[in-house]
Every structure is written in C-alpha cells, then in structure tokens.
C-alpha cells in the first residue's frame, strides 16, 4: 500500500516535470512563430497601404527628357531615402529597361516633389512627384512605356506615344 502510494507519487512528479519540460521547449518556438506571423502581417499592412499612380507622362521627339508625374495615393509617407530606392522602367513598348536613379553615366532619373504641402521633404499621401528621365539618346516617334515601382513593390504604369 505504501509502496503503491510512493510509486504513484513518483509518476505524478514525472508527469508534471515532463509537462513542464515540454512546455519550456515548445513555448519559445510558439513565441517565435507568432512573432513571424505578426511581422508578416505588418509587412502586408505596409504593402497594402503603399499605393501610387502615374497620372501623366510626356516626351518629345528628338529630345532626351521624359516627364512622369506620380501621385502618392496610399497612406504611407515616403521619405527621400525610400523614393531613391524606387524602380523606374522606361522605353519603347516591349523594349523597356530599368533606369538608374541619379546615375553618373547613361540614362538616369531624378525627381522633385511638386506640391510638398507641409514642406517636410517627404512624399506624403496625395502629394505628387515629378520624375525626370534623362536619356542617353534622343526619343524617336513611337509608343513608349513607363513603370514606377515603390520600395515596397507597389507599382503603376503608363503608355504614351510620341
């Protein structure tokens, strides 16, 4: 009787210790997994709040410059350091290529904030930037394509003819 009670006590202690060890091993992993989920959800939220639209683009035959106006239609404020990480693609339809930001050689693009309403130098929601693409060869007549993609991958494109 006493020996049964003792062995039962041992089993109880073993069960409790085992459960504690298991939870101590699993809890940090659960915590890590939930952190990953939260980070992914946060990234998705930022991506869905980052929205832009090309409203107009214009170029002239025999000239090297193309103007592109892009509006921030999202909820995110985009500082200059992140505008510079945007991607600009331009060229004849089907033959466009990526243009480098502020390149020292070859084609390049630069920008200005057209209506910096609060003067903070940040591309705020509903503000518009003007992208100036300077090409290393003049434009000729034909159909052209321009695409602007933000640091988060949100993009907008525009077709026009010269």
């Amino acid at each position: 009787m006493a020996s049964t009670a003792i062995s039962e006590s041992y089993m109880i202690i073993i069960a409790i210790v085992t459960a504690s060890i298991l939870s101590a091993a699993v809890l940090p992993s659960v915590s890590q997994i939930t952190q990953v989920y939260n980070n992914k959800a946060q990234d998705f939220k930022i991506e869905s709040e980052t929205n832009i639209k090309v409203i107009f683009s214009f170029g002239v035959s025999d000239e090297n410059t193309v103007n592109v106006w892009v509006k921030n239609t999202g909820k995110i404020r985009i500082p200059s350091s992140l505008i510079e990480k945007s991607d600009v693609f331009f060229g004849p339809v089907g033959e466009f290529s990526r243009i480098k930001y502020n390149a020292t050689t070859g084609s390049k693009w630069n920008y200005t904030i057209e209506n910096d309403l609060n003067g903070d130098g940040i591309w705020d929601p509903l503000e518009t930037i003007k992208i100036t693409i300077t090409l290393d060869s003049p434009l000729s007549t034909g159909d052209y394509y321009v695409k602007f993609a933000t640091f988060q991958g949100s993009w907008s494109d525009y077709d026009f003819s010269i």
Binding site: F56, V60, K75, N115, T128
Partner: protein
C-alpha cells in the same frame, strides 16, 4: 489518494497546454487584426478612387498667358475646396518662345501671386452660375465643397517666358486628389 493525485497532475498538464494554446491564438488574433486593418485601409483607398470622377472640357486659350478650363465633378463624392492644392493641373502646349512642345504642372495658387499657377474662379451647377450645396468662396476657395454635378471654372496663368502659342494645340490634364484623371484638348 491515487485518484486525487491523478486528477491534480492531469489538471496541471491541461493548464500548461491551455496556456500555450492561449498564447498562440492570441498572437494569431493580433496578426489577423493587423491584416484586417491593412485590407480595410486598402479597400477604403480603392473606394475613394472609384467614387471620384471628373471631366475636363471647354478648354479655351484666352491669350498666350491665360487658359481657362471647366472641370466637372461627375463622381459620387464631394471634394473639399481646401483640397484643391492636392489637385494636379498639367498643361501640354507649344511654347511661344521657341516653338517646342512642353509639359508643365501648374501649382495651385488661390491668390494669383505666383508667376505660373491655377485657381478656381467660379462654380456652375448644370450650366447655371452658382451652387446650392456648400458654396465655394472663389477665388480664395478657403471653404466650401465641390459637390457632384458642379463645374469649377479654372484659370491657368503663365508668365511670358512660358507663354503658349495659342495657334497650336493645347491639352489640359487634371487629376483629382485620389488620382482620377481627365484630359481635354483643343
């Protein structure tokens, strides 16, 4: 004794697992909440864009430095006059100075003090001067709403350096605050 001890140890183990599950689900709910907020805000932006619609017409080159245009709100939502500075007005024309084709975005300037700019001069409702709802106090446009079916007459002015050759074609591009675009040409 044995039965009571089993119950206690079982209860302890169950409590531990319930703790882990609670932690996991509460974190999942937080992720779901963040996702829901992101989706809601994206949907709200799209909703605004769908409800906004404008149309540009009656483009007139008054002279080489003044251009007028009518912009009608054809959408289902009003645009506050204080948000006119979020409207984009772009002019494409042949420059009088050197006959080159140029495109220029004009800044909103209700006081007409800048060298180049645009402002709202009057508002029409179904062709009749004036508005019934939330009238805009043009040209300062510091208050009022640009309601559906109302037409705002805009005045674009340019300095002599940027003067327009009004014997050549002119295009006016207007984008609403949520980037809904309309184009008119003469």
């Amino acid at each position: 004794m044995g039965g009571l001890a089993n119950v206690i140890s079982s209860a302890f183990i169950i409590l531990l697992f319930m703790n882990m599950l609670t932690l996991y689900y509460s974190a999942s709910l937080k992720s779901a909440d963040i996702l829901r907020t992101g989706i809601d805000e994206a949907a709200e932006s799209k909703k605004l864009e769908i409800r906004e619609r404008i149309s540009v017409d009656k483009l007139v080159a008054f002279n080489s430095t003044i251009v007028y245009g009518n912009v009608t709100n054809l959408g289902q939502t009003s645009i506050a006059a204080r948000d006119f500075n979020k409207v984009d007005v772009i002019l494409v024309y042949t420059a009088l100075s050197n006959a080159s084709k140029v495109s220029v975005r004009l800044s909103y300037d209700s006081t007409k003090t800048s060298a180049n700019g645009w402002r709202a001069t009057s508002v029409y409702t179904n062709g009749r001067l004036g508005e019934t709802l939330s009238p805009i106090n043009t040209p300062s446009a510091s208050s009022g709403m640009w309601d559906p079916a109302e037409t705002v007459k805009i005045e674009i002015w340019l300095n002599l350096t940027n003067a327009v050759d009004n014997t050549q074609g002119i295009s006016l591009i207007v984008a609403s605050p949520n980037a809904v675009v309309s184009i008119a040409s003469i």
